[in-house]
Each structure stands twice: as structure tokens, then as C-alpha cells.
Symmetry: C2
Subunit: 174 residues, 2 copies
Amino acid sequence: MKESEIGGLTCSVARTVGILGDAWTLLIVRELFLGTRRYDDFLAYTGMAPKLLAARLRRLTDAGVVQKVLYTEKRYEYRLTPKGRDLYPVIVSITQWGDRWTKAEDEHEAPLKLTHKLCGHTIGANLVCVCCGEKLDPRGVEATQSAALRAERDKMREEFMAAPIRAKQKVSHK
Amino acid sequence: MKESEIGGLTCSVARTVGILGDAWTLLIVRELFLGTRRYDDFLAYTGMAPKLLAARLRRLTDAGVVQKVLYTEKRYEYRLTPKGRDLYPVIVSITQWGDRWTKAEDEHEAPLKLTHKLCGHTIGANLVCVCCGEKLDPRGVEATQSAALRAERDKMREEFMAAPIRAKQKVSHK
């Protein structure tokens, strides 16, 4: 499978990854949540090359995650759409994982302190069940594949098993 | 900045993205949460080329997200470490966003149904404040940069402003 085909799969992770799944795009989304709006500021704070930034912003705009808005006669700014703002749990989860697991030994402070305005405390985000409010843990959740997803995965597996050269490559690699 | 340098930044998003921020790696993490353990199964269900899979698994192992465990005399399997399992909110958030925003018109069923064993309901994951239990929304959260993050961003901005050729490229692009 080619990387460009990932977004066309049945799985919701794969489809999301097809839109967001590269490092630069995730940095752009981070900037949008930090309040960055202007092209120059994206260039400055991501360190991206202009052509690459333009291409990634176009992909996000095409996907309906970002809208390009004329804010003076000649200049545009980029804003998250509702679809884009809905990525908040994704970006907060990524931030918190980074805070927990990638901090250098001499760092005593999280790079970004998130304060919940309502209660005034540093978050601390938990992923909880909408229904019962309990914290979600992989062992407490059962994942059932839809018929369409199951069929697609079975087909991928069959194709893989039927490809003798590829299977051989795999064995020789191990 | 080069893509390989992203993981070296001060920001927790950037550091996480430096480990996970490519489409294939996120597919591997999805598989691990679905229970995939064996090399052949990763090949089958991600459609990755063997060399690429081996490289990505090595990166995840080096980063402490995955452990390679000998499970028979000759064969290894790959499992999430505690650091890896802690990615659950990231993968669930991605799944739910995909369910909401990438579903085709003729699809009536989410590809993956997640059932919370405790309450028996389909989740429905909310990101809530650990402190007060309220749902988190970008507008309700204030983000404060640490001194180190602020300094790094100011430096990036200064370097960007001082680079006349790059600034010109940017203008001509617009």
C-alpha cells in the first residue's frame, strides 16, 4: 500500500491519519490552537519551508479543517473550522503524553501550562466515558469491528498471504 | 528546520510528533491497540513494506513505546509498554474524530465500535478536566508557555525575520 492510500481505508484512525498524519501538519494544528493565524507566523514557529507550508495548509483547507479568511485588503489568515476545533482532544492528548514521557531530566516545568478557566486549575485532562464518566483504559474497552472494516482487513490479510515474494522478504528479514 | 529535528524542540507536541508523527507509525500503534502482536500481522494489516515496518518498529522500540518479546524459541512479538499504553487517549481521540468527520455518506456504522465494559455502553469519550470533571474546550483553557518554550519560539521568530531570502520566498508565494 502507498502512504497516499491510507486515507482511503475504512478505519477511522487511517482516515484521520490520511489528513493529519505527518509531523508538519501536526505542528500546524498545534500552532492554530496556540492562536497563530498568519502565514509568516506559521513559517517562523514551525520552521517549515514556504512551499511545504503552503501545500500542507492547502491540504488542511481542502479537508475542511482550516479556513482561509481575507482579513485585510491583501492578507489572509488561517483559522480552525468547527471540524478543526474538534481536534482539541487529539492535540491535548498528544501534549499530555509529551509532558509525561518526553521531558528532559533537567526540565522541571511543562513547556505549556494549560489552565482550565472554569476551575482555575492546571489540567490534567482525563479521557472519560460519556455515559458513566469513568476514566477510559484500553483494558476496560472492547473494540468490535464493523462488517465493512472486518471485510477490508480480511482482504488485506488474504492478499498478503497470497504474495509469495513479499512473504519471503519478510522471512529473510527476520 | 529538518523534519528529523522536530523531536528535539522544547514543545511536548513536537517531541511526541518526533516519535509518532508519521502515518505508518500511527497505523502500527492502532494495530497494537487492536491486539496485533506478530510481525506478519503488522505487515498484513498495515500494508507496509517489510523494510519500512522494521524501521518503524525499531524506532518505537528505541523510544520505549514498544517492547520486542521472544514468545517462542524463534519468534518475537511486539507489545505496548506502559509508555505505549499511555497513548490510549491519543488513539481514541483520533478514532472518534475520524468517526465524526470522515465517514462516507453511505456508511451508517462506525468502523470500530468501542464498548465500555464497565457500563456496557458504546463510548463516547470526553476529554475532561481532572480537577473539576468538566468537558475541556479550547476556549475554556488558557495556554501559558514556559520560559524555555517562549525563548525557543522567540529565537525561531528572530531567525526567520533575519533571513531575507526566505522572507522574500514567502512574499512571492502569496
